[in-house]
Assembly symmetry: C2
Homo-oligomer: 305 residues x 2
């Protein structure tokens, strides 16, 4: 039995685990994690579930990638365990909704009707056997977007692109990013948590200039794509900050190696502003491996995402 | 001498014509055109020019595509004529800015420093001989973006994508769009102006579903791309509305022909909400043809964009 299911163990019968795919604009949220008195993504969705399913208290949602205040998500994954009584209620909403997939369709529409436009449930499904949104995940993929020239500033996209004042050398940044690949201790690029490991495996780290919108030669904005098995706190934004230090010419490409070799927080790697960061994907193993992956991760990993 | 230049004919010497490339998020603007007491893109830029160049009164800007309230632009083009005295001032801003291109670089940075983040001057240049932002233009290109499924709703991009409640048949919309190609009288799809022609030549009209962000199979949003020599008032949004009527199955593909044959405003072609629309490009002929094109357009076209 999972942590979340045990929360409401007083309800009779097995809980139904739902898998949620969602997206949000982080601008008006104080991050993912529920905090008393603050508008958070978790808080909003838990409240919406309680309202739509008429639960006495909000169910607890477990998420794949906890995002900080101001960080966006385009493909966040979460799960929630619904007590059977509530589910029966959802099933019985109206005639014609007797099949689970129809009830789930209704649930999705009702939740989106209750939620603000800056968070959307893209789809809801019954979670496959052994699925845990957080512990079954094998990789998280983020993109940090930067506009470094006046010509590449797009006001329409200013909410999720950092406007950097100095031009950056993308080629050097890309070379520097390659040095992050593989397993390293990211202690110098994380806000530390006592007793928790800061070793992570980086699966992708690339920096490119991408054209945006129309045939105008606008120089394009910069996209930093990073995928890892997991990230510790503020790790992507610190990695991006280190790459900007290289892109500006303040540090050489090789400096990344010494940052990774250090266990001290590296001050030259600024934690970049949150609004440039978007969680773009969460990856899971094939269905047969979901339970074993979750078990293995639960055993070795601390309270990190 | 152009209209704009004649406005300030009292200043001695030839005016310098600047070509402006700019982008804006239309959300907080009452459209392009200056209106007393309202925040408009034209009003903001003219005020910024007056402030930065210390002019007694704002210079008048001429634009390629007048956009309505709430419509965005990613590659708008405009021109402005600067009196020689002001230009001398700009040139003399500081030592080292003695060449025109350096002065223009300073001007761009100063203007962006004064303007809000929802409008950006992407680049400024000396206009080539014979250039008129409005009358030299040979085509305007717009994109109307629609999300028609819960899975394709992206909160981060909700400011420039219409969320449509019903799923749309993109293949039918694309077939219908092809019927707009060529020269037609768009009287049924324009807000009419007395005495002004509503005949326009459509150079591109296509509808596609495009993937957005990450590997998730989100169905993708719909993009309607339309390019024409020029557009009359609310024409793109009415064309998009007609295509939505086809996409929903309320009208057959062939209905577009009868709309184009009619001179009455077609009520089934709703003018879609402005926030889904973005001006993506303005096209000009080769430099040698700029003056002749402007002259020809000035002779035949009314006060339309």
């Amino acid at each position: 039995m999972t942590d979340a299911a045990s929360d409401s163990a007083s309800d009779a019968g097995p809980h139904l685990r739902l898998q949620l795919h969602l997206a949000y604009d982080g601008t008006e949220f104080h991050g993912w994690a529920a905090q008393p008195g603050l508008r958070t993504v978790q808080g909003e969705i838990e409240a919406a579930l309680a309202r739509v399913l008429r639960l006495d208290r909000p169910p607890r949602i477990t998420v794949a990638g906890r995002t900080d205040a101001g960080v966006h998500a385009r493909a966040q994954v979460a799960h929630v365990d619904i007590p059977p009584a509530a589910w029966g209620h959802a099933l019985g909403w109206r005639r014609g909704a007797s099949r689970p997939d129809e009830a789930i369709g209704l649930l999705t529409r009702r939740l989106n009707g209750v939620l603000g436009p800056d968070v959307r449930l893209k789809s809801i499904g019954l979670a496959p056997e052994g699925f845990d949104a957080r512990f079954s995940a094998i990789a998280r993929r983020y993109c940090y977007r930067i506009s470094d020239t006046p010509a590449s500033r797009d006001p329409v996209e200013r909410g999720h692109v950092l406007w950097h004042i100095r031009p950056l050398d993308v080629s050097k940044m890309h070379d520097a990013a390659a040095r992050f690949l593989g397993e390293h201790d990211f202690a110098a690029l994380c806000r530390p948590r006592p007793g928790a490991s800061t070793v992570r495996r980086v699966l992708e780290a690339s920096v490119h200039r991408v054209g945006c919108g129309g045939p105008e030669a606008d120089g394009g904005r910069i996209e930093i794509w990073v995928e890892a098995d997991a990230f510790c706190h503020s790790m992507v934004r610190s990695m991006a900050g280190a790459l900007v230090a290289v892109g500006e010419g303040r540090r050489p490409v090789e400096w990344i190696d010494s940052v990774l070799a250090s266990s001290e927080r590296e001050s030259a790697a600024n934690v970049l502003a949150p609004h440039g960061l978007t969680l773009e994907a969460v990856k899971y193993p094939p269905p047969a491996a979901l339970a074993a992956t979750a078990q293995a991760h639960r055993a070795v990993r601390g309270p990190l995402h």
